[in-house]
């Protein structure tokens, strides 16, 4: 494994195969790059916080990212994804420690004629207590695109608050018509809807 320790403000984190990234203290990650065929691990150390909010483009990517939270941690991951061509992205968060909060929000747009498999999963172990986990995943499909989503939540403890939801849908004809009625052409209207869909995640973050 390639062990890396990070903390503070990280403008761009490159996640590569066999990386084991230890998040310490308060860490804000502004952008990430996930390399193809990577199998990486992120560990949120005791008494640390991770705030990751970014929009990424994935294009023919197959990657597994395993996140582990230890004791008294706070993890916020807001991931906007623009998926092109064929992708297989697996994000798994396991709450190993206690007294922690974790939120994963994903907004993924499947660009025209793309086919992606996005799996987000949470795991709360039997021996843990006082953890909170929220998983909120939404996909938007452009014409002829396909996204396979699999939101998994494994809860093996009674002392947790866990919540997850997933939705998938096409670009709304009603919204397209609304924008076209303002004089915006269909292609640009679709772009607005796609950008707005991903950006809406940021607004929720502000409110939190």
């Amino acid at each position: 494994m390639n062990i890396k320790n990070i903390s503070g403000i990280i403008n761009n984190l490159i996640i590569e195969d066999k990386d084991e990234i230890h998040i310490k203290n308060n860490t804000i990650i502004k952008n990430i790059n996930i390399t193809n065929n990577s199998n990486a691990k992120l560990i949120i150390e005791d008494n640390s916080a991770l705030d990751l909010g970014t929009i990424i483009n994935i294009d023919n990517i197959t990657s597994n990212i395993n996140i582990e939270t230890l004791n008294n941690t706070n993890t916020i991951i807001y991931l906007g994804i623009k998926a092109k061509n064929n992708n297989n992205l697996n994000i798994k968060l396991t709450m190993v420690g206690n007294d922690s909060n974790a939120t994963i929000k994903v907004r993924c747009v499947g660009e025209e004629s793309s086919s992606s498999k996005i799996i987000t999963s949470g795991k709360l172990l039997k021996s843990n207590h006082n953890n909170t986990f929220l998983e909120d995943v939404k996909f938007l499909n452009e014409e002829d695109s396909y996204i396979f989503g699999y939101p998994e939540l494994l809860v093996d403890s009674n002392d947790v608050v866990a919540n997850h939801n997933m939705s998938v849908g096409p670009i709304s004809e009603e919204v397209l018509f609304f924008l076209e009625c303002k004089g915006i052409n269909r292609k640009e209207a679709k772009n607005i809807i796609k950008e707005a869909f991903i950006k809406s995640m940021e607004r929720n973050k502000d409110y939190e």
Binding site: E173, E174, V175, F177, F178, L179, E180, C181, K182, G183, I184, N185, R186, E188, A189, I192, I193, E195, A196, F197, I198, K199, S200, R203
Partner: protein, 241 residues
């Protein structure tokens, strides 16, 4: 000038309007009335070439055939449609939306003048100026959404305004504010208005040139404001064919 000639409208194979004819000259206000489900809203959406509707016949705007041209091109010819229930668009602000629409229209705007104009219109509409930077209709009440759409209208400067039940969701004061704004806009621009409403107080303020009654797929009667008053009093029974 809008001219609708021999228009038939169907949705999912079901006929909604048959052989509909209407001419609206510049600066005129027309009110459309009729029982629920008689195709009034469909007519407005069909004018905007909503794909849900099949139609034959001809719709001319300023002598150009707009029957089958894309919706955005119809809008950019100066026709503004305000739906009965304006939808929310999360992630894009009013300012961003209108600036994009102005660019699409080929209108160059000065950012400082745009801001000033936004503030002046929000002030007239008794809206907080922060609305301009809010996501389109998100978290707004029914009345606020209608005002928000009237804000868009003022900024996009159409020459024909299609309004579908603008009064729904509006309190008495908000209704007056919007009606007065429409009158002021019309006086300044000589725009035409085609409005679906059954609200007599709004009809009185707008003082339409023509009132039309649609029932059972047909345009049953056209008249002046006295027709609206008569319907207010007696309902649509007389027009059920």
């Amino acid at each position: 000038m809008l001219e609708i000639k021999n228009l038939n409208i169907k949705v999912h194979g079901k006929e909604l309007l048959n052989n509909f004819n209407l001419t609206i000259k510049d600066g005129e206000t027309h009110v459309l009335m009729g029982p629920n489900g008689t195709g009034k809203s469909s007519l407005l959406k069909a004018i905007m070439n909503n794909k849900e509707y099949e139609k034959d016949g001809t719709i001319l705007y300023n002598n150009e055939d707009i029957t089958n041209i894309p919706t955005n091109e119809i809008a950019n010819k100066g026709i503004y449609y305000l739906s009965q229930s304006p939808i929310e668009v999360e992630g894009i602000t009013n300012a961003e939306l209108i600036k994009t629409a102005l660019v699409e229209k080929g209108i160059k705007y000065n950012i400082f003048e745009f801001k000033k104009e936004c503030e002046s219109i929000t002030n007239k509409l008794e809206m907080d100026k922060s609305f301009i930077n809010r996501y389109v209709n998100v978290g707004m009440s029914g009345g606020e959404r209608k005002k928000n759409e009237i804000l868009h209208m003022n900024l996009l400067k159409p020459s024909l305004i299609l309004l579908d039940e603008i009064d729904s969701g509006l309190d008495v004061d908000a209704l007056k504010v919007i009606a007065n704004n429409l009158i002021e806009y019309q006086e300044n621009t000589n725009a035409s208005i085609l409005i679906i409403t059954h609200q007599q107080s709004l009809i009185d303020i707008l003082n339409p040139d023509y009132v039309h009654v649609i029932s059972n797929k047909l345009l049953r009667k056209s008249g002046d404001i006295s027709l609206a008053k008569e319907i207010s009093k007696n309902g649509f029974k007389e027009y059920e064919g």
